[in-house]
């Protein structure tokens, strides 16, 4: 009895310690963003600021740097929506009508295996030709193209897991195939939909290389903006941290709300071949 309690205590302690270790960089990031310049460079380091100062954030908003977060939101959000819509339709078709035979699905996922750096310059030249450099549409379409294989592959797995009889029952009950997709397939794969959408969004949100090459000033995303604070002479740690916090918050919030779907979605059906 006592032994078991001791092991529980030890395990909990280990878990707390590990969690603290992993969370420390995030904690530190948040703290720096609230500190004054002197506090940031103080030695020995100050574990928490003397007061919560929002000065660094104020600068970002005043200079207009914060709009890059809005750019990221629009671009990642729009490309996620488009990729989810097209990808789910394609996945349904692949899963239920064996569109393209046995190998089309594998070919599609292979498109995800291309190292982005290998195609970044051809795409840049293409975008120059099309006049899409430094436009939202350009990045939205590009991220959609990159995310589509992933969405198709994941959603196909979730859809294959839905018992076919559920769809057949709905067809007999009087639904059209489109209604079946809407009223049966989507509700049945809700957890998978959310999980896939989150990963798709996070990919677009964090994407750096294409954003760096394909944007100039108009639609800079926050990932690119952060790099502007690394200077030759000095690094603007206050801005870097405040910008990073702004860039992290949306993901925190989204994942916080959709956590239960995320866990269920990851653990279900995702490994169907």
């Amino acid at each position: 009895m006592r032994r078991r309690r001791l092991s529980t205590v030890l395990r909990t302690a280990a878990a707390v310690l590990l969690t603290m270790l992993f969370l420390f960089p995030i904690y530190w990031l948040f703290m720096i963003s609230f500190k004054t310049a002197e506090e940031i460079f103080a030695f020995p380091p100050k574990w928490w600021p003397s007061r919560i100062g929002l000065g660094s954030y104020a600068v970002l908003f005043k200079d207009g740097d914060a709009t890059t977060v809005a750019n990221s939101l629009v671009i990642a959000g729009a490309s996620t929506l488009i990729a989810m819509f097209l990808g789910t339709l394609a996945a349904y078709s692949l899963a239920r009508w064996r569109t393209g035979g046995e190998h089309l699905a594998n070919w599609i996922i292979s498109q995800r295996m291309v190292p982005p750096i290998a195609v970044v310059f051809p795409i840049f030249l293409l975008y120059v030709f099309l006049g899409w450099v430094d436009t939202r549409v350009g990045l939205i379409l590009l991220y959609t193209a990159f995310n589509l294989p992933y969405v198709i592959w994941m959603m196909r797995g979730y859809i294959l897991d839905i018992p076919r009889a559920l769809e057949e029952a709905a067809l007999v009950d009087g639904l059209t195939p489109w209604q079946v997709l809407w009223q049966v397939v989507l509700p049945m794969s809700r957890a998978g939909l959310f999980a896939t959408a989150i990963f798709t969004f996070v990919f677009a949100w964090n994407e750096f290389i294409f954003a760096l090459v394909l944007t100039r000033t108009e639609v800079t995303t926050y990932t690119v903006q952060v790099t502007h604070y690394f200077g030759g002479q000095s690094n603007f740690w206050a801005k870097i941290s405040a910008m990073s916090v702004l860039g992290t918050l949306p993901i925190f919030i989204v994942v916080g709300f959709l956590q239960k779907y995320l866990v269920r979605g990851i653990s279900m059906g995702a490994v169907k071949g």
């Binding site: 057949e168 067809l171 007999v172």
Partner: protein
Amino acid sequence: MADLRIKGLHKYYGSVHAVRGVDLEIAAGEFTVLVGQSGCGKSTLLRTIAGLEDADEGTIEIGGEVVNDEPPRRRDIAMVFQNYALYPYLTVYDNIAFGLRARRTPAGEINAKVRQAAGMLAIDHLLDRFPRQLSGGQLQRVAIGRAVVRSARLYLFDEPLSNLDAQLRDEMRGEIKRLHQELGKTMIYVTHDQIEAMTMADRIVLLRDGRIEQQGAPLELYERPATRYVAGFLGSPPMNFIQAELLGDGGGVAVRLTDGTTLPLPASRTPRLAPLAGQPVVLGLRPEHIARAPAAGLRAGQVRHTARIDLLLPTGARTYATFALGGAPVVAELQAHDVSKTGEQLELAIDMNRSVLIDPTTDHVIA
């Protein structure tokens, strides 16, 4: 007028010829059971009727109208699936109401119909629950409720009881039959279980390798099987089959088994069988046609035979006793106390009136 008429139906899955030319007519209000071993094409046939599979050849008419090219929703059918096929994210009420809503039934009517169907199936107290909160038997009731709540032309059941345990299955069998009597709808029921077929059907359609082997009323098939397959499929324990030869001697006919035992056949069968004397046959005897012989006086057509009992399977009401006859193990259905232990010698009366003779080359029943 037939409510369902199928002509020359063929269905292929790649190189597999699942349904091989089925002609079938089902009258309005009839309860028809499609029965056969797994892979005989019964489920495929049902799914083709529902429109979930396309017919490769032949026509399907429902209510006089060819529906081959109609999608399931326009065929006006309701179906119960083997694995219930309930929507886990909807309550029992919404599951039952699903088909009515899909067909834009007014809300008040939906409510009345759902409650009526639920009442009929004794699930009215479960309407607010979700499928995951129900037991297997309750799930099956909901699945049936979802079908019968609709006023469809045709009700299809695809092995609806095969996921239930034996006791529940017995109960639900009666329930579905009662439902059919109350509703008077045309129902087609698929099962691999011959007892389900016998107990529930107005008419049994026995399928084998994608063809109809025989169809008719349950007792008709049971008592007058057309082939060895039908004779062996219906009945539990199954009919005993014994290799024999047909003998014709002046006055009458008899069968001689491989061990020399000769069993005379009743005189009424002589005219039909006498010309076939000398031909090898398979003798089919149902367990219930072999009884313990009375001390004296057999009924006409009964033959006395002494046997040593090798195996006893008491079930309470009856005891199934196995003995050797003509080199084959033969099961007799005896009264519970007819025999007390294996190894016992017993006088048996074999009722040759009811015996079946089969041509071993064609497997067709001769008489």
